[in-house]
Symmetry: C2
DNA sequence: TATTTGTTGTGACTTGCATCACGGAATATG
DNA sequence: CATATTCCGTGATGCAAGTCACAACAAATA
C-alpha cells in the first residue's frame, strides 16, 4: 500500500498523517463473508476501510443479527474509533460483504492524532456524525415503520451500495437481517412485484422501480 | 455561574478550559417541559447540561416522539457536539424534564478546543461513545423486544434517573414515548401488578420490584 | 441419474398490538 | 355543588406479522 493508494481513499488527510498511518498501521486483507469485529470483543485499535464493503450488525442475546448499515471505502467504524480510546468492548458485529482491505490503527495513535492532525480530528467527528445519523435512521425504521417499508429501504440500500438492480440475496437471509421471517419476506416480495416495483425470477430478484412500492 | 460550580459538574476539565467556557459560553435556564432542540433545527453550538435533566427523542414525520434516553448533568448532547462542526441539522428533539441550566458553546470553539484541550477532546469522544451505546440499546429494544419488556425498561430508567419508586407519568404519556397506545400500557401495567412488580394506585404507579416482571 | 440440499410459494393458525367504543373514577374549574 | 376534563379499565374487533406444515422447484453432489 503506497501513500498514493491511501490518499486516494482518504483525500482529506494531510501528507504527514498518511505517512504516519502507513508507518504504524497494520494492513489486513479480509475475505468476503469474514467477521471482523465480534459483539463483546475488546477493541484496542481503530479500523478504517481502505477497500471493499463492510456490513454492520447489532446482535441480540440469542444471536440474531439485525443489519444496521454499510461501511464504505474511506470510512471508519465509529465503534472502533470510540473504543480505541475508552476501555470499550464492541457492541456491534462487522462482516465483510466483499473482499476487503482494512487498516488497523493502534489505539494510542487514534488518541494522539486528534490533537496532532486537524484532518484526523475532523475525520473522527465526521465519522461519528455519519454513523450517528445512520443509527437514528435505523431507529426510525424499527420504531415507526412496518416491515414492507423496511424491506423497500433494505432493497434501496442494496441497490445504491452495489449499483445494481439485481438482488441475489436469499429471502431467508433478508429475513434474518430484518429480524423477520422468510415467509413474510416472500409475501411482501409478491406484493412488491404486483405493484411493479420488482420482478421475481425464482432464483433472484430484480428491481424495476422502488418508487412504485409506495402504492 | 462560577468556575467552582462548573468544575463541580465537569470535574475532568482543566482550569483554563473552564475559564474559557465561562468567557465564551452562554448560560441559559430552561423551564421544565421546554423544548431545547427541535428536529430539523440548524445547530451552530454545542449544548452542555450544567444542571437538571433532559430527555432526548426521535421524531417521525407525523410528529410522534419516540423517547430514546436521558441526558444528565455533566453530559453533552452528542448531536449538538457533532452538528456544531458540520453543517448539520438536528435529527433529535430535546426536552427539559426538570428546570435546567444549559451552557451553549459556539461551534467554532467546539472545534478549536479539540486540538487545544486534551480533556475536551476526551469529553467529546466520551460523549459520542456513551450516546452511541445508548442508541444501540434503543435499537436492541425496538428491534428485538416486545412492548412488555420495553415498558419495564422504561420504568427502570425512570427509577434510576429520579431515584424514586413513584412513577407519576400518565399511561397516555408513557404510551406516546414508547410509540404504543394507552390501552396497551394499561393492560401491561395490570400484568405487571399481577406479577407483583408494581402497584397501581389509580392516579400513579409505584414500583415494588421490577425483577418480578420477568415471569 | 438419483439424491440431497437450499430455495420459494402458500394456506392455516396464533399472537401482539392498535383501534374503537364504552363507562366509571378522580381531579380541576366554573 | 355542578360540570368539565383528564385519567384509567376493559371488551370487541381488525391487522401485521410470526409460526407451522407442506409442496414445488432448482442447483449441487454422489
Amino acid at each position: 500500500m503506497t501513500e498514493k493508494d491511501l490518499t486516494k481513499h482518504f483525500p482529506t488527510f494531510e501528507r504527514d498523517l498518511i505517512t504516519e498511518m502507513i508507518r504504524v498501521g497494520e494492513l489486513k486483507t479480509i475475505r468476503e463473508g469474514d467477521t471482523i469485529i465480534r459483539t463483546g470483543q475488546n477493541i484496542r485499535a481503530a479500523i478504517l476501510v481502505v477497500e471493499g464493503l463492510l456490513k454492520i450488525y447489532r446482535e441480540d442475546d440469542s444471536g440474531d443479527e439485525y443489519f444496521m448499515y454499510y461501511l464504505d471505502e474511506g470510512k471508519a467504524c465509529a465503534i472502533s474509533l470510540v473504543c480505541a480510546l475508552g476501555i470499550g468492548t464492541s457492541g456491534v458485529l462487522a462482516k465483510a460483504v466483499t473482499d476487503a482491505t482494512i487498516l488497523i490503527i493502534p489505539a494510542n495513535y487514534v488518541d494522539e492524532w486528534i490533537g496532532k492532525y486537524k484532518s484526523w480530528a475532523q475525520f473522527a467527528v465526521m465519522t461519528y456524525r455519519e454513523r450517528f445519523e445512520e443509527l437514528l435512521e435505523v431507529i426510525d425504521h424499527v420504531a415507526f415503520r412496518n416491515m414492507d417499508e423496511r424491506l423497500v429501504f433494505y432493497l434501496k440500500r442494496y441497490q445504491e451500495k452495489f449499483n445494481t438492480n439485481n438482488i441475489p440475496t436469499s429471502f431467508t437471509e433478508i429475513a434474518q437481517e430484518l429480524n423477520s421471517s422468510r415467509e413474510v419476506i416472500s409475501r411482501l416480495m409478491k406484493k412488491l412485484s404486483e405493484k411493479g416495483a420488482v420482478n421475481l425470477h425464482g432464483s433472484h430478484v430484480s428491481i424495476i422501480d422502488l418508487e412504485k412500492a409506495l402504492d
